[in-house]
């Protein structure tokens, strides 16, 4: 590693301020990046990391401040200029066209728009050379829509490299990857640094920041609050700097499993478009136990969640609740049987944005007493229930009449949590319950799930975040292409071992072993 003082400054942000209405997303942020350096931009959701990088890349225009790349000041609000200056950005949400090939995606915008024809030969050569140099193997003629998430990310990186990027910005690049894919990504980044590139790595995962970066910059509420060489910090210090105070994750004790509340036996459901259905899944949910479901998203988790929630039924196999087979399984029956759902997407399926808190709080039970009687709504009762949730779960809001879209993600999730837990459910389906929440809210949601478990509820926790799964679950299953791994007891597997299952390899071995 080069000593920062000795190396050339390739990127300098000076006094960047950006306001969205009253919200100050970036408050006078200054930073510099040296050649061959990896800096990490660490902060919670909403701390302003992505906004800052979008300003650097010219997708937003800063209200104040300048961006300087290789000594040249960039004109504001012009992605083209940033690209030409050698800045390449790998967006959190990939900017790829699914119906086009890798080669077409990579060459998009690199040749003059009105050139008489696309030069594929030269593009193909350059792509092959880059793929070899950086260890990014992707078939140039594969349709992007048919690639895995990890491969798509390689295409995004290749896109930047193809344009001769000297500075790579990666926005939450590991969020969708398996542990092995993360290792591959880090290997690629190390190669890039060796070849003289510089990297800005945006993340809120502490161990990744520790693993890859030379220097870490911490953003909080739009301010740059700390800047440290990585050698001088550890994970606990980073967490404290990120949140502004010492944080303690809830202490997790081993659950005491009781009776089986729900059992799936050899359940198969049809595939849905590109997402697989369930493939002969057997699973038991015990009272007083958290079952964690790990896996890269799009491997059948949605089908399992929909099955438990009553949105789909088993095509083959059976679904038992309290040892009785469920016929004509519907969402209504699921709710009435004491199954509570924390939906994967709180905006799309968890709440109705334009409805107020009260209306959202009774979405699943509006037709039942005491909220309605003989076809008439009892708004007074509903509002009292909502106030109770607001008080108990510390939902910060002006009142129950507030439209829910005005709430922050964390407060919205607390309302959903309250709606779910106040019913004292016997089975809780928690699908990505902390996605996009800040650490305080994450710890709160986790401690509530643990408390529900200790009361005797069966919890199924679905998450892409392996750390979350490993911290909370008493038993861990991995899903891959609709198949479910055997259950692994708490602490019996390392992330790398789980990663093998996430990549789908363990299944074949298990099947072979089973067959022989």
């Amino acid at each position: 590693m080069l000593r920062p003082e000795a190396a050339r400054v390739v990127l300098r942000l000076d006094g960047i301020t950006k306001r969205f209405g009253k919200l100050v997303a970036n408050d006078a942020i200054s930073l510099s990046l040296h050649q061959g350096e990896v800096i990490a931009l660490l902060g919670e959701n909403g701390a302003g990391k992505t906004t800052l990088m979008n300003i650097l890349f010219g997708q937003y225009t800063a209200d104040e401040g300048t961006v300087e790349v290789f000594g040249q000041t960039l004109p504001p609000g012009n992605p083209r200029a940033a690209l030409d200056a050698g800045v390449g950005m790998v967006h959190q949400h990939f900017t790829l066209a699914d119906n086009m090939t890798v080669l077409e995606n990579v060459t998009l915008g690199t040749q003059p728009l009105f050139a008489p024809r696309l030069d594929r030969g030269a593009a193909r050569d350059k792509l092959a050379r880059l793929a070899a140099d950086f260890g990014l193997q992707v078939h140039p003629d594969a349709r992007v829509g048919s690639l895995t998430v990890g491969e798509r990310q390689r295409v995004e990186i290749l896109k930047a490299l193809y344009r001769d990027a000297r500075i790579l910005i990666l926005d939450e690049p590991t969020a969708v990857l398996t542990p092995q894919e993360i290792d591959d990504l880090f290997a690629t980044l190390r190669k890039a640094v060796k070849l003289g590139l510089s990297v800005v790595f945006i993340s809120h995962k502490l161990h990744e920041v520790m693993a890859i970066s030379d220097r870490v910059l911490i953003l909080r509420h739009g301010r740059l609050v700390a800047e440290r060489p990585i050698a001088e910090v550890d994970k606990a210090k980073l967490a404290a700097l990120m949140v502004g105070s010492e944080v303690a994750a809830p202490k997790v004790e081993q659950g005491r499993p009781g009776a089986v509340l729900m059992r799936l036996q050899d359940v198969t459901t049809p595939d849905r478009g590109s997402a697989p259905g369930l493939n002969r899944v057997s699973l038991a949910l015990h009272s007083g136990q958290i079952v964690g479901l790990a896996g890269v998203s799009g491997n059948g988790q949605a089908a399992l969640a929909d099955l438990i929630g009553g949105l789909i039924r088993p095509a083959t196999g059976r679904l038992d609740l309290n040892d009785a087979e469920m016929q004509d399984w519907t969402p209504r029956k699921a709710v009435q049987s004491g199954i509570a759902r924390i939906p994967e997407d709180r905006h799309k399926t968890g709440t109705i944005a334009e409805f107020d808190l009260t209306e959202n709080a009774i979405l699943e039970s509006y037709a039942d007493p005491p909220y309605s009687r003989a076809g008439w709504m009892s708004w007074g009762v509903a509002e009292a229930f909502t106030r109770q949730i607001i008080d108990t779960y510390d939902v910060r809001c002006p009142g129950p009449g507030t439209r829910i879209r005005l709430l922050s993600g964390g407060n919205m999730q607390k309302l959903i949590l309250g709606r779910v837990l106040e019913k004292a459910p016997s089975i809780i389906l928690a699908n990505q319950p902390v996605r996009g929440l800040d650490i305080g809210a994450v710890n709160y949601v986790h401690s509530q799930l643990l408390a529900a478990r200790d009361r005797g509820a069966a919890v199924l926790l679905i998450s892409e975040d392996l750390d979350e799964i490993m911290a909370l679950s008493d038993v861990i299953h991995v899903m891959s292409e609709g198949r479910l791994s055997p259950g692994f007891a708490r602490g019996s597997m390392t992330p790398a071992e789980l990663g093998v299952w996430m990549a789908g390899q363990g299944f074949d071995e298990a099947e072979t072993a089973h067959a022989s």
């Binding site: 083209r80 119906n99 077409e104 915008g109 050139a115």
Partner: protein, 314 residues
Amino acid sequence: MDILEILLSASFWTAAIRIASPLIFATLGELICERAGVLNLGIEGIMVAGAFAGWMAVYSGTGLWMGVAVAMAVGMLFGLVHSLLTVPFGLSQHVVGLGVTLLATSLTYYAYRLALPEVTSPPKIDAFQPYEIPLLSDLPLIGPALFSQTPLTYLAFILVGVVAFVLYRTPLGLALRAAGENPSAVAAQGLSVTGIRMGAVIVGSGFMAVGGAFLTMSAFDSFFFEMVNGRGWICIALVVFGAWRPGKALLGAILFAAFDALQIRIQQTPLGADIPYQVFLMMPYFLSILALIVMSRRAEVPAALMVPFNKGER
């Protein structure tokens, strides 16, 4: 067998190709718009405006090709209106499209009455005449069908190749297809989604207008109200039928036209005496719907079709 006899006659295929020509122009126009992510329901009205503008220009004394250019320009003007409202302003593409159709149709009828207040039957022009391509037109069956048409028909077929080439073989086509699939991919490369989409709608609308002009300048030699008669809507279906690909859309247009030509001829057979003629009129539409159901089940809609793009939003 009567129908077989019809299908093997050169005059039948000549008619089918002639009927297909305006559909080819307009379908290509719609295809370009949709590939860039904009549904253009202004197509029906733009065809009416094109039909009138081209014919009126020739009637006023310009040459035939100048008439085609005038029609194209008028179509592009309506395309500009449509794209301004749908792309930078992001208004509903359905509502704007229907609005453009109504606007273009009524403006055309108004202009017709202004230009020709006294006439009871519209005047005729000297329309495009069939041009027999030497040697090729002597081939049996396909000679008269494909190589004894008017120059505008030849242009339609050439345009299919040009559009396919631009879409699949040039950087512009790449950017256009990406704008209809994932506009943020285009923006992330520093290109203007707004510019590409507006350009596509304007050029596409120009082609639609030429499709309309074919009716007054090549198929017939005069302008009538209601002469476009739903052809624009058929072209919207043809784009889906063709799975957003120019070659397949061409096949679809010819297939539809063949049904249309067939029903006219069946009406004149003994069969036509027994069955009400409305049944035959309905046939091409009925068969199109059937073909659409069969053909387009696995078609891939451009993912960002009808999704407005706002810079700076995630």
